[in-house]
């Protein structure tokens, strides 16, 4: 029985990821806009830091920030908002009527979303290295990839928690996502060292996985850069903890919101 449930989970995950990966590839203009958007945001900070003469280290952290930023945007708009959008499209009730758990849909969305976002993230990285001649130290490249994957896990776990909350909030979800986006960009230190926030604010910011993931990646790939938050090993341990916590809370929140949907009849209907 466990094997059958696991198969159902995997098939649901694959099918939902397929929509993200292959379906959205059909929107060529979206891909071009997404890549160019990433490039120009990064370029703005590049020229800013170069104009005030901060040195090559700063340009390195900007490229890594530009690499990670679209993933959080995807977590927020592509995972957290998704159940709400599925409700609006009339898909949520079909997802609930099927035997697949809601978590399988959201993990599928996360996997598909991460793969899709990787295109923009890699484009930023390639532009950074080729256009702006940014140099990274690749001695710890394998560890950096692992740190990146753990960060993604924790981020998308947080996205699943948000998806339940946003579904519960209904029409306010859009505004809530908008409200979250920019403060998280600041707290994550996407385009500056998060240490400059001060330890008080930074200790709050570590609840957002991007903060620690980005700081750890910067330590591993731009080791000459000084103002770090914590040692990267400590940061990875905290990230693993966050990944587990957000995943467990996410699954619990989905079950809770589904029960509420069935009890109150206010979450699966488009007009509510």
């Amino acid at each position: 029985m466990k094997k059958k449930r696991a198969l159902l989970f995997l098939r649901t995950l694959t099918a939902r990821a397929y929509v993200r990966v292959f379906g959205q590839m059909r929107e060529a203009t979206w891909i071009v806009a997404s890549i160019l958007g990433g490039f120009f945001t990064m370029a703005t900070y590049m020229y800013l830091y170069r104009s005030i003469g901060t040195g090559a280290d700063f340009t390195g952290i900007v490229v890594l920030g530009g690499f990670m930023a679209p993933f959080f945007a995807n977590v927020l708009w592509g995972v957290a908002m998704q159940l709400y959008w599925e409700k609006e499209m009339g898909n949520l009730e079909l997802m609930l009527v099927s035997p697949a758990p809601l978590s399988a849909f959201l993990v599928g969305l996360s996997v598909g979303g991460a793969m899709h976002t990787m295109l923009r993230a890699l484009a930023v990285l390639v532009f950074g290295v080729t256009v702006f001649k940014v140099h990274f130290v690749t001695v710890h490249l394998g560890v950096a990839v692992l740190v990146f994957l753990v960060t993604l896990w924790a981020m998308y776990g947080l996205g699943i928690v948000f998806s339940s909350l946003f579904l519960y909030h209904g029409r306010d979800a859009w505004r809530t996502a908008d409200l979250i986006m920019e403060p998280v960009n600041v707290l994550s230190g996407n385009y500056f060292p998060v240490r400059y926030l001060g330890m008080g604010l930074a200790s709050v910011a570590i609840l957002v996985p991007t903060t620690l993931g980005l700081d750890a990646l910067r330590q591993l790939l731009v080791p000459s850069f000084g103002p770090v938050l914590l040692g990267w090993r400590v940061e990875v341990l905290i990230l693993v903890g966050l990944a587990f916590v957000w995943s467990i809370v996410g699954v619990w929140a989905l079950e809770a919101v589904e029960y509420k949907a069935r009890r109150d009849a206010r979450l699966t209907l488009r007009w509510q």
Binding site: K4, L7, L8, R11, T12, T14, A15, R16, Y18, V19, F22, G23, Q24, R26, E27, M89, G90, N91, E93, L94, M95, L96, V97, S98, P99, A100, A261, R262, R263, A265, T268
Partner: protein
């Protein structure tokens, strides 16, 4: 699919009834407004092999009943089962056995092709891809959409989309298929195809059942072996459409077009036809010829009426027996026509 079938074998308790609904109520509460009693103690049973219709105006409680049975809503009180499984406590097992198709549904993703969309939904039921593709091909051919399989969903007409929705509901081989207004807004050709397929599908296997909600009385009359007339959260009647219509009155009703008839002779004709006969003379709107509307106490009285007309020198040009409709049954049970009831409900809400 093999996995799904074995799940059925091990988990499904064999019961005579596909559906049982026992004194189910559902109350919707909203802050600042009075509680709304959508269902007020609804009870019915549906055996396998049946297409069971829930008939009623908007807000009658049809969709609420379906949503409870499809595990999307909890009943406020009472108990409902699907294939012997409690929809409240055993909802995960129920979901393996059911499928839901709603009218006007825009589900799925416009960016996917028809066959991608159907494959995606089949995966949500754990089907193996090869079996899913075989079934998708078979059903798309059945609805005449195999050639459109590579069209993106956002390019389909309403009728085509609804055919795809029906295929989605059938591909996973449910035991109980819920159809909530499946032909709403759909053109005549697509409606005929949908009705035809639903009838064949339920007849193909003995352990299948369809629960249909519809506005269209003719659709319920054509498809359903039994119909529950629902209004204001109550089941007012539950019987075969023919029984519901027969129960209206024992009189026989006819429409007779004649070449000529003197209107002063109508009363005498009624007296010669038989006791309790009621005749009204009007004009056929198409031919402009005299038309007699006859309400006869007994069906056999028609012979006496034809003989009397013949004696009057009238030639019978056209005759039609007027069968009572489900609309008449609704009128008798509710006291208002379907449309009037809907208008009254929307005025109240």
């Amino acid at each position: 699919m093999a996995g799904l079938q074995s799940l059925r074998a091990t988990e499904v308790v064999c019961m005579d009834n596909a559906i049982t609904v026992d004194q189910v109520t559902r109350v919707f509460t909203r802050r600042g407004s009075e509680p709304f009693h959508a269902l007020r103690g609804v009870s019915f049973e549906v055996p396998y092999g049946e297409i069971f219709g829930l008939l009623g105006p908007n807000g009658a409680g049809k969709t609420t009943t379906i949503r409870i049975l499809a595990t999307l809503l909890l009943p406020t009180s009472g108990r409902a089962t699907v294939a012997g499984l409690d929809v409240e406590r055993e909802f995960a097992a129920v979901r393996r056995l059911i499928s839901l198709v709603s009218g006007g549904e825009t589900s799925g993703y416009g960016i996917l092709t028809v066959e991608e969309q159907l494959w995606m939904f089949s995966q949500f039921y754990g089907m193996q891809t090869r079996e899913a593709r075989q079934k998708i091909e078979a059903y798309l051919k059945l609805v005449g959409m195999w050639d459109s399989r590579r069209l993106q969903m956002n390019r389909l007409s309403t009728g085509m989309r609804q055919k795809v929705n029906l295929v989605r509901g059938l591909v996973t081989n449910p035991r109980v298929l819920f159809l909530d207004e499946p032909t709403l807004g759909v053109d005549v050709e697509a409606s005929v195809v949908i009705r035809h397929i639903v009838r064949d599908w339920v007849a193909a296997e003995p352990d299948r059942c369809v629960i249909l909600t519809t506005h269209y009385m003719a659709e319920a009359d054509e498809l359903c072996s039994r119909v529950a007339i629902v209004n204001h959260g109550l089941v007012l009647a539950n019987a075969a459409p023919s029984q519901l219509k027969q129960g209206l009155d024992a009189k026989a009703h006819y429409e007779i077009t004649l070449d000529r008839l003197d209107k002063t002779r109508v009363q005498q004709l009624a007296a010669r036809t038989g006791p309790g006969s009621d005749l009204t003379l009007t004009t056929d709107k198409v031919t402009n010829k005299p038309m007699l509307i006859a309400h006869l106490q007994h069906e056999g009285d028609i012979g006496a009426l034809i003989a009397a007309l013949s004696a009057e020198g009238s030639t019978l040009e056209y005759m039609r027996k007027l069968e009572p409709s489900l609309e008449d049954a609704f009128l008798k049970l509710v006291g208002r026509t379907f449309e009037d009831e809907e208008e009254a409900s929307s005025a109240v809400s």
